[in-house]
Subunit: 239 residues, 2 copies
């Protein structure tokens, strides 16, 4: 029984997926170990490892040392969402980007914001509100607090030509961030600026970013009606 010899890791990945789909290896099933698979596929163990590791990252397999590799019981859909810079997002749609700042002042943030930016002791923050427009039409309203203890340089920026969104990305590197998506009712001023009725559903992205342990900024982005985040799931099978 001379095997067709799977020579690259994608081919092995596809074959493993095929067996999962064909229920040769049903959910929960412990699959053969890397050495055996390498022998069966006629390749090095490192190649099998590469294929299985990729499948584990995609959520199809669960791997534990000594315990082995099993087919995931709950095949969660693991989608990767790219959240681009707003200017980029608009220009990628073939529309022209404009930007209008509405307010900019230094203040102590409300406790809800303090909890995220400076949980230990309140510090001065820069509060900026602005609107991003696509071909002249309101696209997203930005309500941002910048931690001046982490980013003192922000105090010297007036943000009337370049948005805080872009300035921060270009100036202040971050190590990690929290993001959440919700559907909320458009509040007063927000609704007016987005050109929608009060109480209309708006898609909201809340994001807080840090540089190591120091919070940089927290922002609420409320998108005009019709906004949709698209993504896809699925193992990168060469269909």
């Amino acid at each position: 029984m001379s095997q067709p010899r799977f020579r690259n890791w994608q081919a092995i990945q596809d074959e493993v997926l095929r067996r999962i789909h064909a229920r040769d290896w049903p959910p929960g099933h412990v699959i053969p170990n890397e050495v055996d698979l390498a022998a069966e596929f006629g390749c090095a163990r490192a190649t099998v490892n590469r294929a299985l590791r990729a499948l584990a990252e995609a959520g199809m397999l669960e791997r534990r040392r000594k315990a082995g590799t099993r087919v995931a019981l709950h095949p969660v859909s693991r989608a990767t969402v790219d959240i681009p810079v707003i200017r980029q997002e608009i220009e990628d749609r073939g529309q022209s980007y404009t930007y209008r700042m509405f307010s900019r002042k230094i203040a102590r943030p409300p406790v809800s914001i303090q909890a995220r930016l400076c949980p230990d002791s309140p510090v001065d923050c820069l509060h900026v509100t602005a609107l991003h427009l696509a071909s002249g039409v309101a696209y997203v309203f930005e309500d941002r607090w910048i931690n001046l203890a982490t980013v003192p340089a922000a105090a010297n920026q007036n943000f009337d030509t370049i948005s805080a969104n872009e300035w921060l990305l270009a100036t202040v590197p971050y190590t990690h961030g929290d993001i959440s998506f919700t559907a909320e009712a458009a509040a007063g001023a927000e609704a007016d600026l987005l050109g929608t009725a009060r109480g209309a559903p708006v898609f909201v992205i809340d994001r807080t970013t840090w540089d190591h342990d120091r919070a940089i900024t927290t922002v609420r982005l409320s998108y005009a009606p019709g906004y949709r985040i698209r993504t896809s799931v699925g193992t990168p099978v060469s269909v």
Copy 2:
């Protein structure tokens, strides 16, 4: 100048990230090639490759053969969102899961659904609506069409005890899917079932899944107010 010798790929990843954050390597900068970095770090090229590949997958670097590796110009936040089975999601919150089916009938879907499930020629589909409850409270309303040409077995399932969501995941493997997130106004029956006012903002997930080129199902999940998808971004630095 004896280097500290970076012996594992995570250490190399951290060092590369440090240089990016420190603006030693600003956005757009072409970093040294793998051979040089391996020499500098005192490790094998494969180890450098592992570190850089991981950073490229995270969106921090852009790599092209021959052209080399450069720091990403637009550091898009690449977030991975796990979309679990609904029962799992509710039970993970420590709440009890219940399920109520509302309607189930075989019919030709409307054109908007046909476009996704059977673009070539209309086929019979199973239309199921149901409500998932967390500790007795409405959690998410499910409006699903199942392609009977792809999944004929679904016609024999009444879905009164097990939800279509779970049955499909356990029975029909899929290769890939489209997902989108929107904020929409709760429509009539939907609003009543979710226990919210009509027109109230609901978070909606639309998903269509395929097995290779054959569409399996398309579903609209509208979540009760307060629903929030959380995720995080950031390179896996060992902070």
